[in-house]
């Protein structure tokens, strides 16, 4: 079964038949899906078979094959987020969806950053969202398909067992390259006033303004070889602050990204190097918007376009994916 956009009726039939799935669609469509073995989140942006698209009348199903057996589907309030890691399956993968712009979405990266147990088993997922024009007017939600219950401020996790001979692995594709001065942050925060830039403490807003950085260019740090982005949410002229989507990490050396003008080409190059089937993937809305991916394909990848990507940690402007290695 393909990971793709289905009509509402097709999605209803597949879920009725007992398909295990991760689902993305508009809330009005999610409401019409039958109870079953799935979790979902509100989302109108997709990488469909024909390329990037916005759809308010179709449902995206990420099908999980028979190797995935649901261990439990559980929702977690803000103060319960650390319990996600205690509930990991002994051997498997956990899929997480968090409503973006919620308190629980704000809190998750702080919890994941300080808790080494997040790395004990693969955790992959996304932040649900709404049409970009509806941000602030409509709340993103997640839905537990077993009960068809919506949540707007809880993380939803589907913990799945895998057979012992199937090994899960998470990966990321980050098309951005760091360049320029070293930037260090003294606090773990999403609202930055000052930073140490090439060894000198200064107002980050003034610095960003002085070099004409666009919000399309994330801050990047190298974590033992993996480049981790922190995307700019807003350059706040009123308060002279730089606001970011995921918190900065003290003790890490960041740089701003070079300007990228050929997203498709860069993704294609990275995808060719993976050479494995992606069982699940999602890509960032910033990449879709700033990369002008509407109507454009990136390799043969189909998946959700999301308001934040989770591969253990909450990431920005990144494609995250799950692959499986099976020993025969």
């Amino acid at each position: 079964m393909k990971n793709k956009l289905y009509t509402l009726e097709e999605a209803q039939n597949l879920l009725e038949e007992g398909v295990t799935a991760i689902v993305g669609a508009e809330e009005s469509l999610l409401k019409q899906l039958p109870k079953g073995k799935w979790i979902g989140g509100t989302m109108p942006y997709f990488m469909a078979e024909g390329g990037g698209t916005v759809s308010q009348n179709k449902v995206f199903l990420h099908h999980l094959d028979d190797r995935f057996q649901i261990n439990q589907i559980k929702h977690y309030k803000e103060h319960q987020l650390e319990n996600i890691f205690d509930d990991y399956p002994t051997w498997g993968v956990s899929f997480i969806i968090i409503p973006s712009l919620s308190e629980v979405a704000f809190r998750y990266p702080f919890v994941a950053n300080k808790n080494i147990d997040v790395l004990k088993s693969p955790l992959i997922g996304w932040l649900s969202g709404v049409l970009w024009d509806h941000v602030g007017k409509v709340d993103p939600k997640v839905i537990d398909g077993q009960t068809c219950t919506f949540y707007d401020n809880q993380a939803l996790v589907m913990h799945c067992d895998l057979p012992g001979n199937v090994s899960p692995s998470l990966g990321t594709i980050n098309i951005f390259e760091p360049a320029g001065p070293i930037i260090e942050f003294e606090e773990e925060t999403t609202e930055i006033s000052e930073a140490i830039i090439d060894g000198k403490k200064q107002n980050l807003y003034d610095y960003i303004k002085s070099i004409n950085v666009d919000i399309q260019q994330p801050f990047i740090t190298d974590v033992s070889g993996s480049l981790i982005n922190t995307s700019i949410k807003e350059i706040d002229d009123t308060n002279r602050l730089v606001k970011v989507w995921t918190p900065t990490w003290p003790g890490y050396k960041y740089q701003l990204s070079k300007v990228v003008d050929n997203y498709e080409e860069k993704f294609e190059t990275e995808l060719k190097a993976i050479n494995k089937e992606m069982v699940f993937n999602c890509n960032c809305l910033y990449n879709y918007l700033f990369g002008k991916l509407k109507g454009k394909k990136i390799g043969n990848v189909t998946g959700l376009i999301t308001f934040g990507e989770i591969a253990y940690l909450l990431l920005d402007q990144t494609l995250v994916y799950l692959t499986l290695d099976e020993e025969k």
């Binding site: 080494i116 790395l119 693969p122 090994s167 998470l170 990966g171 974590v223 033992s224 070889g225 253990y312």
Partner: protein, 73 residues
């Protein structure tokens, strides 16, 4: 499959900080290196974490072991 927990292999990882290929091991080693620097993780705890990770994800870590072993002198 991998060296015993008492092997110098694990200590060398912490001392020489070799590169890793997979996201999970990169994030894990980064946490452990920083934990040791900040005295929030002991070397023994870090070795136990690494040993446990390699042996849980044997399939994935076969290649990691070769890659890392080549870097350790």
């Amino acid at each position: 499959m991998f060296p015993d927990i008492s092997s110098a292999f694990w200590t060398k990882i912490l001392e020489q900080k070799p590169k890793a290929n997979t996201l999970a091991l990169r994030l894990l080693t980064d946490r452990l290196y920083r934990g040791i620097e900040l005295n929030s993780v002991s070397k023994e705890e870090a070795i136990a974490e690494l040993y446990s990770f390699f042996n849980k994800y044997k399939s994935m870590c076969k290649l990691e072991f070769e890659f890392i072993n080549d870097q350790l002198k």
